[in-house]
C-alpha cells in the first residue's frame, strides 16, 4: 500500500538500470538528503552536530569502506582502524607540507596512501582465506599502530606524540581546527560522505562490483569465468582502504581535532566491523544503520536517566549503556543475522502488502 511499485513502468534500459528505479526510493532519498542538508543544519545545536552527526557520518563512511571489502568481496579484515590511521597521518603530513592546498582535497588525496598500504597488506588474500586472512590483517593493525607510535616523523616530532590539526580555510570559511564551526565541518563531512557513497553505489552495481561479488560467492567459479582473483581482491582492498583512509582523515580533521595512535587501535577496527555486521553485510544502507546503532544509541542512552529525572552516577550510566547495547546486539543478531538492512527489507515488504498480508 505504502510501498507499491505496481504501475511504475520502465520504458527504457536507462530507467530500468537507474540507481533508484522506484519512485518511492527516489522520494525517500530526496527526503533524507533534504533533512541532512537543510533541516539538520537549521535546527540542530552544536552538541548534536559535533558529537552525533559528524561522528555518525565518519563511521558510516568507514563502515561503507569495510563493507566493500568484507560485505561485497568476502574478505574479512581487522585492519580497518589502522587503515583509517594511515589516512589520518597522511592527511596530517600533507597539510604540514602543503599548507596552502585545500584541506578537503588533501583529505581525499590521503586516501591514496591508505589504498597503497591496504593493497600491500591485501597481498596474502590470494592464498589465505576467511579467518586466517583476518589474522594477517590483524598484523597490519599492529604493525601500523606501532609505526604511528614509533616513527616520530609521522607526527612532526611532537613531544606529545599526537597529531594536532591546524586551522585551515576553504573559500574563506574555516573548516578545520578548533575555530571551525560545527556547521562548516558538518557540511564538509556530509558532502564527502554523500559523494563517496553515491560513487561506491555505482561502482558496486557495475562490472567491478559484480566481479567482487563473484569472488565472494565462489572464487573458483569466478576464476573460471575469467575474473582474475589477484587483481580483483587487491582492488577491493585498495578501494576499501581508500574509503577508510578518507574516513580516518575526516575523523581527525573535522571531528576530533587531535588524535593519538590509540584513537586508531584495534578497538576501532572492531567497532567498524560490528557496524558492518549489525547493519548487514553487503548493504550500503546497512552501513549507515549499523553506524547509527553503535554510535548514536549509546550517546542517547547516556542522557535518558537525566532527562527522566533519575539521579544515577555517571559510571552507572556507562555500565548500563554497555549492558543495554550489548544485549541489543545479541538480540538483533539472533532475530535477524543479516542485520538491519534485512530488517528494513522485511519492513518494506510489509508496507507493500499492508493492510492485506498474505
Amino acid at each position: 500500500m505504502f510501498y507499491r511499485e505496481a504501475g511504475q513502468f520502465k520504458t527504457s534500459y536507462k530507467a530500468d538500470q537507474a540507481l533508484f528505479p522506484i519512485l518511492q526510493d527516489k522520494v525517500g532519498m530526496a527526503v533524507i538528503l533534504a533533512v541532512a542538508f537543510v533541516l539538520i543544519p537549521l535546527t540542530a545545536n552544536d552538541f548534536f552536530l559535533t558529537s552525533i552527526m559528524i561522528p555518525f557520518l565518519v563511521f558510516s563512511l568507514a563502515a561503507i569502506g569495510l563493507n566493500v571489502l568484507t560485505g561485497y568481496c568476502g574478505q574479512l579484515s581487522l585492519g580497518t582502524g589502522a587503515f583509517m590511521g594511515v589516512g589520518a597521518y597522511a592527511a596530517y603530513k600533507l597539510t604540514t607540507i602543503f599548507p596552502d592546498v585545500n584541506v578537503v582535497f588533501l583529505v581525499l588525496a590521503s586516501g591514496i596512501f591508505s589504498a597503497l598500504v591496504g593493497a600491500i597488506f591485501g597481498l596474502p588474500s590470494l592464498r589465505i582465506k576467511g579467518l586466517y586472512l583476518a589474522v594477517t590483517t590483524l598484523a597490519a593493525q599492529f604493525f601500523l599502530e606501532w609505526c604511528f607510535i614509533r616513527i616520530p616523523w609521522l607526527y612532526n616530532y611532537n613531544a606529545s606524540g599526537a597529531i594536532e590539526v591546524p586551522t585551515r580555510e576553504m573559500f574563506g570559511v574555516i573548516v578545520s581546527g578548533a575555530e571551525a564551526t560545527p556547521i562548516a565541518r558538518y557540511f564538509v563531512v556530509l558532502s564527502v560522505v554523500v559523494f563517496i557513497a553515491f560513487l561506491v553505489a555505482n561502482v558496486l552495481r557495475g562490472r567491478i562490483g559484480r566481479s567482487w561479488m563473484m569472488i565472494r560467492d565462489m572464487d573458483i567459479a569466478a576464476e573460471l569465468m575469467g575474473i582474475r582473483p589477484l587483481q580483483t581482491k587487491l582492488m577491493a582492498f585498495a578501494v576499501s582502504s581508500y574509503i577508510c583512509g578518507v574516513a580516518g582523515a575526516m575523523m581527525v580533521f573535522f571531528w576530533l581535532n587531535a588524535a593519538e595512535p590509540s584513537s586508531y587501535s584495534i578497538n576501532l577496527s572492531f567497532q567498524i566491523l560490528f557496524m558492518v555486521i549489525l547493519g548487514g553485510l553487503g548493504s550500503l544502507g546497512g552501513a549507515f544503520m549499523g553506524a547509527a546503532f553503535i554510535w548514536i544509541l549509546p550517546v542517547f542512552l547516556k542522557f535518558i536517566p537525566g532527562t527522566i529525572g533519575l539521579e544515577v552516577g555517571a559510571e552507572t550510566v556507562q555500565h548500563l549503556t554497555f549492558m543495554i547495547v550489548g544485549a541489543l546486539i545479541i538480540f538483533f543478531l539472533i532475530v535477524e543475522p543479516h542485520g538491519f538492512a534485512r530488517l528494513w527489507q522485511i519492513a518494506k515488504q510489509k508496507l507493500r502488502v499492508w493492510p492485506f498480508p498474505y
Binding site: F48, S160, L256, E260, S263, G306, I346
Partner: protein, 443 residues
C-alpha cells in the same frame, strides 16, 4: 520465528521513535555555578581515577553542604564518564560546555591536548593540575590553560635533583644509568625532552622503557630489560593499572625499591600495596598532603561521606590520590572565589573563571583558613607562569602508608623555564595560526 521478527521490527521502530524524542536537555539553573567534572570510574584507569573523582566531587559537595556553595551561590556538579578515552572526553566536553561550564579538568593528557585549542575558542579555561601539556605553563601563549602547581618537567627535574642529592651532588651523576619506565601515551612521553636535556647536561645515560597502554598489565619484557641493563635508578611515569604492575615486577626482579621513584600520579596507596612487604622503600613525588589531619577533610567526612551523599569509601579518604582530587577542587573553588572578587559577579562565566584562576594566590594563611594548613605548598599563578614551578616533596612507602621523607624540593626553574618557552613557541608555530593573547592580565 515470524512473530519474533515482527516483534524485532516493532521494537526497532519504537526505539527509533523514542530516541527521536530524547534530546539532551540543558538543565541549567540560573543562580548556580556549573562545574563539570570529567572523571573515569570505569576502564583500566579506574583504579586511580575513582579516588581522584571522589576527592574532587566530595570537596565541592562539602562546600555546598557546609557553606551553601561559594559566595552564596551553589555549585552544580556534574560528572561525565570519559573512561580515560580521548573521544569520549571530547564528547563529554561538547555535551556539557553549553551549560555555561566554568572550567574543565580532563584528568588525561590525551583529552587535555584536544581541549587546549578549543579552550580559547569556547572561552572556557582548562585546569590540568600537574599534568597535560608542560608548555601550557607559558601564560602568554596559553592564556586559557592552567597547570598549577607543577608541570611534568618540573617533576622530572625534581627527581633528577633528588637522585643527585643521593649521589652527593649532581656532578656525580656522570656515567650513571637512569631508567625511565613510562606509559607510552602523551602522558608518559611528556617529560622525555627535559630528561634528555638533563642527561646531556649531567652526563648520565637515560634508558627508556615504554609500556604500551593496552599491555600495561604485562610488563615482564620491560622489566627483563631493566634486569639486563641494571640502571642505578628507576623513574616511573605510570597511571592506572600500570603502577601496581610495575611495582610488582620490580619486586619480582628484586630491584632495590629505594632507588625506584614514581611521579605524583604513581603515588597511590593501592599501587604501592600491590608490591607486598618488599615494596617498602618505594618513593614517589607528591604535592598534596597525606592523611586525614585536616579540618577540611574532617568536614567532608562529616557533611558528605558520613551523611551518605557520596560513593566514597571512608577507608580511602586521606589517601594520596583522594587528597589530590581534593586539592584540585580547592583550586577550582579558590579560582571561583577570586573571580567573584575580581568581577563582583556571583554567577560566573568561563571568562570570569579564567581571570580568577590567573589571579589565584593560595598562600599559607589562606590554606589555614580553609582548614588545610600544610596540605600543600603555597601556590600562586601569574599571567606569565600558569604552573609556577612550585616545590614538591618525596614520600616513601613504609609498608602500610606513605611517609614524607624530604622537605619541599624546588624544581630546576633555570632549566625548565627556557625549555617551556621554547616548547610553547614551537607549539604555536606548529599550530599556526595560533591566536595571540588578547586577554588582559587581571593582576
Amino acid at each position: 520465528m515470524k512473530h519474533f521478527k515482527n516483534f524485532a521490527l516493532g521494537s526497532a521502530v519504537a526505539l527509533g521513535v523514542a530516541l527521536g524524542g530524547v534530546v539532551p536537555q540543558a538543565a541549567q539553573a540560573e543562580d548556580a555555578n556549573y562545574v563539570p567534572l570529567l572523571t573515569y570510574r570505569t576502564g583500566p584507569y579506574a583504579g586511580s581515577g575513582i579516588h581522584i573523582a571522589n576527592g574532587m566531587a566530595d570537596y565541592l559537595a562539602m562546600l555546598n553542604e557546609r557553606d551553601g556553595g561559594i559566595g552564596g551561590v551553589k555549585l552544580t556538579i556534574e560528572e561525565c564518564e570519559t573512561g580515560y578515552d580521548a573521544q569520549k572526553g571530547v564528547e563529554c566536553y561538547e555535551a556539557t560546555k553549553g551549560k555555561n561550564a566554568l572550567v574543565y579538568n580532563p584528568y588525561s593528557t590525551g583529552i587535555t591536548l584536544q581541549l587546549i585549542p578549543k579552550a580559547s575558542v569556547d572561552k572556557i579555561p582548562v585546569l590540568s593540575m600537574g599534568y597535560g601539556l608542560s608548555a601550557a605553563a607559558v601564560g602568554g601563549t596559553f592564556p586559557w590553560v592552567f597547570n598549577v602547581p607543577d608541570t611534568y618537567w618540573d617533576g622530572a627535574s625534581v627527581v633528577i635533583k633528588y637522585i643527585g642529592e643521593q649521589e652527593g651532588g649532581l656532578e656525580n651523576l656522570k656515567g650513571k644509568k637512569i631508567g625511565y619506565i613510562f606509559l607510552d601515551a602523551g602522558y608518559g612521553r611528556e617529560p622525555i625532552p627535559l630528561l634528555e636535556q638533563l642527561a646531556s647536561k649531567y652526563g648520565f645515560e637515560l634508558l627508556q622503557y615504554p609500556v604500551p597502554g593496552k599491555e600495561m598489565q604485562n610488563q615482564s619484557s620491560q622489566w627483563l630489560n631493566v634486569r639486563r641493563d641494571r640502571p642505578d635508578y628507576m623513574v616511573m611515569w605510570g597511571w592506572g593499572a600500570m603502577n601496581p604492575t610495575a611495582i610488582k615486577e620490580a619486586v619480582k626482579i628484586r630491584y632495590p625499591m629505594d632507588k625506584f621513584i614514581g611521579v605524583w600520579w604513581s603515588a597511590g596507596e593501592d599501587d604501592a600495596a600491590a608490591g607486598g612487604a618488599q615494596a617498602k622503600g618505594y618513593k614517589a613525588l607528591n604535592f598534596s598532603g597525606v592523611g586525614m589531619d585536616f579540618q577540611a577533610l574532617q568536614d567532608i567526612k562529616k557533611y558528605v561521606v558520613d551523611a551518605g551523599k557520596s560513593p566514597t569509601d571512608p577507608e580511602s579518604m586521606g589517601g594520596t590520590l583522594y587528597n589530590r582530587g581534593v586539592l584540585n577542587s580547592v583550586i577550582i573553588a579558590e579560582g571561583i572565589r577570586a573571580a567573584q572578587e575580581k568581577t563582583g559577579k556571583k554567577v560566573l562565566t568561563g571568562e570570569d573563571m579564567r581571570m580568577g584562576l590567573e589571579s589565584l594566590n593560595l598562600d599559607e594563611a589562606r590554606l589555614a583558613e580553609l582548614g588545610l594548613g600544610g596540605f600543600a605548598h603555597p601556590m600562586k599563578v601569574t599571567c606569565e607562569d600558569h604552573a609556577g614551578s612550585h616545590p614538591v616533596f618525596i614520600q616513601e612507602w613504609d609498608g602500610e602508608k606513605f611517609v614524607k621523607v624530604t622537605d619541599w624540593i624546588e624544581p630546576m626553574k633555570d632549566v625548565v623555564r627556557p625549555l617551556l618557552e621554547e616548547a610553547a613557541k614551537d607549539y604555536a608555530e606548529k599550530n599556526a595560526p595560533w591566536p595571540a593573547r588578547t586577554e588582559a592580565c587581571p593582576n
